[in-house]
Subunit: 217 residues, 2 copies
DNA sequence: TAAAAAATTTAGACTTATCTAAATTATGAA
DNA sequence: TTCATAATTTAGATAAGTCTAAATTTTTTA
């Protein structure tokens, strides 16, 4: 088994790898709230364990065994988030930090039974896909509503920013997963958007918000 | 917050305190599978934090704040065990090690909602009482069936030994919580007992087993 | 293409939690 | 009551994970 710190590093590298082939020391340090020197130390350990490909100064990528571990942590994270929202009735903005701890509970049988107990959910409360017990999942094909044009429409299916403040704002505006919206107007000046809900109500959202609200067409 | 190691020490001291006013260094070392010297180191830290009363060579006892923390860990342990058995359908001999990890999940709100979700269970799968969110619980008034006499009867309500081997043995003999039994005979020679189940079936159990099976009259 | 700036690594230190071996204190049997 | 033994503590190491400050390498910019 790997330590809690190792698991968090692998998960961070996995998430950062979505944007870039190789992940830099500073990116990892920023995402884990540590110092670059601490990251370098850990990278050596992970490389020794053959969980990452690492050459000095060149950044890192996960090996396939490192990726497997990362995906498993993410599976646990997302299943626990689903549990907290669906069974314990937490709000979607409250569950991330708890899941950050729970994702390190080691038993594979526990997580598989939890998955079964909840009837194999496909997405976590933020719309992220939940890997199955073999680590397989469909990469979500969502895109920010900021990429849409006037008259386009679709269903809110994910968020890019998981911060409490953003999620609470969305909740207040009823911009929650599953809601259908269409674009009424895009303001030239600041790229803010006026969108219409199914109940015809119109909401004005900033470019920033539009960049972080994901939609399935 | 306290570290995982600190929490485990407090819990161990709590359990050992049931038999004796003061708990010895060696007792703690045995229960946590560490060395006496490691225990001494930790006792100093816990004493500095005012979680235990400690004077060199004299053993330790919990302060009220130490006890509060210990009871809270035990509450979490027993609620997670109950969850694993009642919701995820694990057997009673499978859940202890998982709960040993889960008891360290920190959120109090999480555990209170879990408690509510399961409708405030009073006992864990081994018959141990579950403290409420204020740390209150009734000390169980169970006694080993080895203390009974011929013709006495009662309901199996707990086990003293939580090892897989004992629990699996009991399961196989149908000696599970809630079953009513009565004492048919006590063998002079080795203090083994012949007990009768509700269905009139008779089972012969060793003195050792009888010492570890608890009953409510 | 040579500085300057930025990124990364190394050196040395600290904390937590362990350990072994040695020293000290307590205990209980003669 | 004394001394051998058992229990406990201290001394000195080690490993994981982190930090600051200094050194090194890479990248950018002029
Ligand atoms: Mn999350
Ligand atoms: Mn985590
Ligand atoms: Mn248990
Ligand atoms: Mn534990």
């Amino acid at each position: 088994m790997n330590t809690l710190a190792e698991e968090n590093y692998l998960k961070s590298i996995y998430h950062l790898s979505i944007n870039a082939e190789n992940v830099s020391t500073n990116q990892i340090a920023a995402s884990l709230n540590t110092k670059a020197s601490s990251v370098t130390d850990m990278l050596k350990k992970l490389a020794d364990k053959a969980l990452i490909n690492y050459t000095k100064y060149q950044g890192v990528s996960l090996t396939s065994s490192g990726e497997k571990i990362a995906v498993n942590i993410i599976r646990k994270h997302r299943l626990w988030e689903y549990f907290l929202v669906e069974k314990l009735k937490f709000k979607w903005d409250q569950v991330h930090d708890m899941a950050e701890e729970m994702e390190h509970i080691s038993s594979a049988e526990l997580i598989d039974r939890l998955d079964e107990f909840m009837d194999y959910p496909q997405h976590d409360p933020h719309g992220e896909p939940i890997p199955d017990c073999n680590g397989r999942f469909k990469a979500s094909e969502l895109k920010p509503i900021s990429t849409l044009s006037v008259h386009d429409s679709g269903t809110i299916s994910g968020v890019r920013d998981h911060s409490s403040s953003f999620l609470q704002y969305l909740e207040k505006q009823q911009l929650t997963l599953g809601k259908k919206i269409s674009i009424m107007e895009i303001v030239e000046f600041d790229h803010s958007m006026i969108i219409q809900m199914e109940n015809k109500k119109e909401i004005h959202i900033s470019r920033e918000a539009a960049n972080n609200l994901l939609i399935a067409l």
